[in-house]
Each structure stands twice: as structure tokens, then as C-alpha cells.
Subunit: 146 residues, 2 copies
DNA sequence: CAGTATCCTCGAGGATACTG
DNA sequence: CAGTATCCTCGAGGATACTG
């Protein structure tokens, strides 16, 4: 059952560098040398991780300039949907092992954008964004109360 | 900032065995040999991971019998609060790389509980649950519009 | 800049045997 | 059962040099 899922996810992003790379791309660090400088990772390892993440479909490799050729990495839809996990991870880390300042939680969100409505399950401890809600209500699996 | 948090969390639970151990303890697998049988991990590595997780405060080592001495591992409060992250991880894995049955997303949540209101940032792609909202509105960081 | 190629080290982790 | 001790291998990853 879910053991294989955990294992697959761990194999894909469950190492120090992959997670840090993903975090950096979320933050807007998108180029090879920027990532390298920011993370202090060796070229070979960074190259390997980027390749893996692109192959897995988490990142997208996009040339944005022809001459000289330049490349940037962005999050695919699949990669963007890692955000709930990253948020949960950061929240947990800030609360239990963070040395630094805990992430401030604002009604406007850290980027300043006004928050949209979403839903939260107090039993599962899971949040569902508007896209998930939309998908659920438009699909066959309807549960049309409040 | 949060790089250190990510790194610390990755260092603690960001490896294959630690994550699988935690998952098993969540499932109720609590004894050394049970964990070993279920995961197929070597004794030395399992011993090392359990020690690390206990030292970090994620697991609690509890002798439950004196003669012969027997031990079980359970989740500390800190460990229990990993559940949102695990759920997010499983949800993502099921959706994007799971071979098995994807978790259905319902307005009632997978456990049947009715969902509560939460908030979503369309720029950050981040969801904020009711506890976070409560904390934000009661703390100094107020942003009291809709 | 965005990598690839090569070399080298060190430590993670399996296998096995042993212990209270 | 719940580990510890020892040995051994192999591969991850850093450093450095090189390439289009």
C-alpha cells in the first residue's frame, strides 16, 4: 500500500539536496550557478539532481536564451503541488527544531496576496485548496452539503 | 531563513529508512523485530535510526515488560505532529507517482469528517488551516480584511 | 553560464556472529 | 527479543579540470 508511495517519494525528493533544490526553485532561484552558489553543492551532484527531478516531472528545464545558451528550471504542475508538503514540513520544522524565526502566518500570506477560501479537515489534518474543491465538486464524487 | 529548517528536517527524517520507520510506527508497528521484518532493514541501521529519532524527540522508547525485557517505540507529541506532512506527502505521491489507488478527494475529506474553512494563497500556492488563521489573527500580525 | 569527465575518499549500510 | 560488534564493499559526493 502506501509503503511504496513513501518509498518512491523518499527516493525522489527524500534527500538533502533534492529538497533544497526544490525549495530554491520555489523561492525563484532557477539557474544552475545560482543554485550552486546558494546551496554550496558540487556541480556533479546538482547536475544529477536536476536531471532526476526533470525526468520525474517535478521540474521543467527551459532554455530562455539562445546565444549564449542559457537555461532555467521551473516547477511543473506536479512540482507546484509539492507546496502543501513543503509547508507542512516547514511548519513542523519551525515548531520543533527550528533555531530561527518561525514563519509568520498572515491572512495575506507571505507574498502579500490575499488568501482564498480553502477547506481543512480536523481529523486528517489536511487542507484542500480551491483546485481540489473544484475538482471534487465537478467530478462524480459529490458530497453537496455545506 | 527556512533553508536551515529544511536542512534540519531533511537531516532528521529525510532518508528512506527514517521515513519508513515513522510510517510504520504511525501504523502501529512498534517493536524492533516487527519493524525489521516489515521493512527489511539491517539491524544496525534500524538501531541507528531508532536511536536518532528517539534522541531527536520524534519517537519514545518504552519498555513494556521486565522479564524478559521488551521495548516498544511510539510517537511523541512531536512525532504525532508529523501527520500533516505525511498526509501531504502521501497525497502527492498517490497523485503523481503512485502505482496504486489514488486517494479520493472529497468535500468531506478521506476520513469522512466535514471540512472546516481554511485559506489559500494563489501566488504562494499555500494553504493555511484554521489554527494558523487563529494564531495570525490573535497575534500582533493583524491584517483584518475579509 | 551550464554543464561533463575524472579521480579519490570516506562513510553508509548489508551480512554475519554474538550478547543479555 | 532487542539489540551491539565487526568486517567489508560499493557508491555518493567533493575537488578539480575541462568544454561548448
Amino acid at each position: 500500500m502506501s509503503a511504496s508511495t513513501i518509498e518512491a517519494v523518499a527516493r525522489l525528493i527524500g534527500d538533502r539536496w533534492s529538497m533544497l533544490v526544490i525549495r530554491d526553485v520555489f523561492r525563484g532561484v532557477r539557474r544552475f550557478e545560482e543554485l550552486r552558489d546558494d546551496l554550496g553543492v558540487s556541480r556533479a551532484v546538482l547536475s544529477d539532481r536536476l536531471k532526476k527531478l526533470v525526468e520525474a516531472g517535478v521540474l521543467v528545464r527551459t532554455p530562455y536564451q539562445d546565444n549564449p545558451p542559457r537555461v532555467e528550471y521551473t516547477l511543473s504542475p506536479m512540482g507546484l503541488e509539492l507546496s502543501p508538503m513543503l509547508v507542512a514540513l516547514l511548519r513542523w520544522g519551525d515548531r520543533w527544531i527550528g533555531d530561527g524565526d518561525p514563519t509568520a502566518v498572515l491572512l495575506h500570506g507571505p507574498c502579500g496576496t490575499e488568501l482564498e477560501q480553502a477547506f481543512w479537515c480536523r481529523t486528517c489534518h489536511t487542507t484542500f485548496g480551491p483546485a481540489a474543491i473544484k475538482a471534487a465538486t465537478s467530478a462524480d464524487a459529490r458530497s453537496p452539503d455545506a
